[in-house]
């Protein structure tokens, strides 16, 4: 990094401290520019921080997040603004006037930035539309993020060991009657991962995954999936369960095994619903502030010419654009950073 570049006082605002946001911040800082990273939680790490394990290598995501956050904190070019949200935005000639609000103290401040990276991530849909699965009604029915938490508890020896677990894929996703016709892309793999983890923790437990298609397109993904089936003995049943019924303190899952064509039942202690991936509600509001387009579901749409750009001086990365796995989130973060650096290097 040479002297002259250090002298430039150009700043990028990164909104969202998940893997995509952190990666973008780190890379922009490597390019020699200043970064303000805004995160609404009290800790950076995003969704990744909540995960117990990762695919396709069974790594502990906390390790990776730990290294990244360390890098982040060591980097003098980056200012981390935790428990903060964007209050208002005014576009200027060469950037934005952004007011940040601290949700803990209530204090506000305004900064000048010359580019913005939106990395607000994704969330899971509200499952109350699925009365048949009884999420929020039966205590054993969890969505996949709640289940990651449960896995963490189990790994620490807390809670009752399950005798059987059922994981249901495509809850919400690929359901046009509920308004989510799209495939959420990551559920196939994380369900396989979760199923494998359960088998690791409790080899005696029976684990069933109910799927429609297994979409394992990615380096090492199919092998990962087959490992889960063949080595860890997780059973895959093709069919979307129709109903979860409480049954003597446990949960009875009713489905059709569409590969044999007969109705089947399975009793589980925990039923995990791989809920559809949806954008956070604040994403659309933020996008509006920065003049970025969103699609019909509220995900950010990209500019015609670039996959990381959504408006003038506005870029995005990770789950706010669509469901992504960790690897993709990181690449998208790097790609957005490259765009920012190119912009700053060019006409700053």
């Amino acid at each position: 990094m040479n002297e002259s570049m250090m002298g430039k006082e150009l700043t990028a605002l990164v909104i969202g401290g998940g893997p995509a946001g952190i990666e973008a911040a780190l890379k922009i800082a490597c390019g020699g520019y200043r970064v303000v990273l805004v995160e609404k939680e009290s800790e950076p790490g995003g969704l990744l921080r909540k995960l117990y394990s990762s695919f396709p290598r069974w790594e502990n995501p906390s390790d990776r997040i730990g290294w990244m956050v360390d890098d982040l904190k060591r980097n003098k070019q980056i200012e981390i603004s935790l428990e903060s949200t964007v209050e208002s935005v005014a576009r200027t000639d060469n950037g934005f006037n952004v007011t940040l609000k601290n949700t803990a103290t209530g204090g506000a401040r305004t900064i000048d930035v010359q580019a913005v990276v939106l990395a607000t991530g994704f969330g899971l849909m509200d499952l109350s539309a699925y009365g048949e699965y009884g999420h929020g009604i039966y205590p054993g029915v969890l969505n996949s993020l709640e289940f990651e938490e449960r896995l963490r508890e189990w790994s620490r020896g807390l809670g009752k060991a399950p005798k059987a677990v059922a994981l249901i894929q495509c809850v919400g996703s690929r359901d046009r009657s509920k308004g989510y016709p799209y495939c959420s892309k990551v559920c196939c793999m994380y369900s396989a991962k979760q199923a494998g983890v359960v088998k690791d923790l409790f080899p005696e437990a029976k684990v069933y995954v109910f799927y429609i298609d297994c979409r394992a397109a990615g380096k090492g993904y199919e092998e990962f999936l087959r490992e889960v089936i063949e080595k860890k003995h997780v059973r895959y049943v093709r069919g979307r369960p129709a109903k979860v019924l409480p049954d003597g303190g446990r949960l009875l899952v009713r489905a059709e095994d569409t590969l044999i064509g007969i109705p089947v039942e399975f009793t589980a202690d925990v039923v995990v619903l791989a809920a559809a991936v949806v954008p956070h509600p604040e994403t659309a509001a933020l996008a509006k502030m920065f003049g970025a387009p969103v699609d019909e579901y509220g995900f950010i749409d990209h500019d015609l010419r670039s996959h990381a750009k959504c408006a003038d001086r506005v870029f995005f990365a990770g789950g706010c654009g669509f469901a992504v796995d960790t690897e993709s989130a990181l690449s998208q973060g790097a790609a957005a950073a490259a765009e920012v650096i190119a912009l700053f290097n060019g006409n700053g």
Binding site: E204, K206, Y208, R226, I229, E230, H233, R235, V237, R238, R254, D257, L259, I260, G261, I262, P263, V264, E265, F266, T267
Partner: protein, 202 residues
């Protein structure tokens, strides 16, 4: 009642693959190449190798032991030849047949083989013509075309062949199966047949 995914599936290895010849059943991708190439499945829809594997993985082995379907396999091994995961489906059939017979299902399908095997114990050769006249006819024919009237098989060979049957218990086991007793099997040949009115009318 509805089928329950049985509780016993975790001991699949012990339950189905007692001879440790089909250890990779779980790797089945359910792609259906086996069924596509199977000559029997092409004639009788209720015999579907892919579904049999799926059903056995779901723990419904007993249904198949009782079935008549497992006796339909021609053992042509086309399924094994084409299987992307190298699942020796014929060996699975074989083990199911062993177990079926142990439970005395489908004996009537075994009896013709038993007859052959019992005769083979005498001759050391299988598919020998039955009855004195058939024997005589074939011996004449062989003589005419310049072969020894009876294939060259030594007494030693016959003796050792018999002893192998006795040593493995096969002879006694086959002896014990009575011709007249048999337990009924379920399912029918054309079950699952799909028809089309348009075709039939035209």
């Amino acid at each position: 009642m509805r089928e329950r995914d049985a509780d016993r599936v975790d001991n699949l290895d012990r339950l189905v693959d007692r001879y440790h010849l089909v250890e990779n059943l779980e790797s089945c991708l359910q792609c259906g190449r086996c069924t596509g190439v199977c000559p029997v499945a092409n004639l009788s829809p209720s015999y579907n190798p892919r579904q049999i594997i799926r059903d056995i993985l779901a723990g419904n082995k007993d249904r198949w032991l009782r079935s008549e379907e497992i006796w339909r396999c021609f053992w042509c091994a086309n399924c094994y030849t084409l299987c992307p995961m190298d699942i020796p489906f014929p060996l699975l059939m074989m083990q199911l047949r062993y177990e079926a017979l142990e439970n005395r299902y489908g004996e009537k399908y075994f009896l013709p083989f038993r007859r052959f095997a019992m005769r083979a114990l005498e001759d050391g050769l299988t598919f020998t013509p039955g009855g004195a006249r058939g024997r005589e006819r074939i011996m004449k024919l062989r003589g005419r075309i310049g072969l020894k009237p009876w294939p060259d098989i030594s007494e030693k060979a016959k003796q050792e062949y018999r002893e192998l049957f006795e040593a493995t218990g096969a002879a006694a086991w086959m002896e014990a199966i009575k011709e007249e007793e048999e337990r009924p099997v379920a399912l029918t040949y054309l079950q699952g047949r799909i028809t089309d009115a348009k075709k039939k009318g035209g």
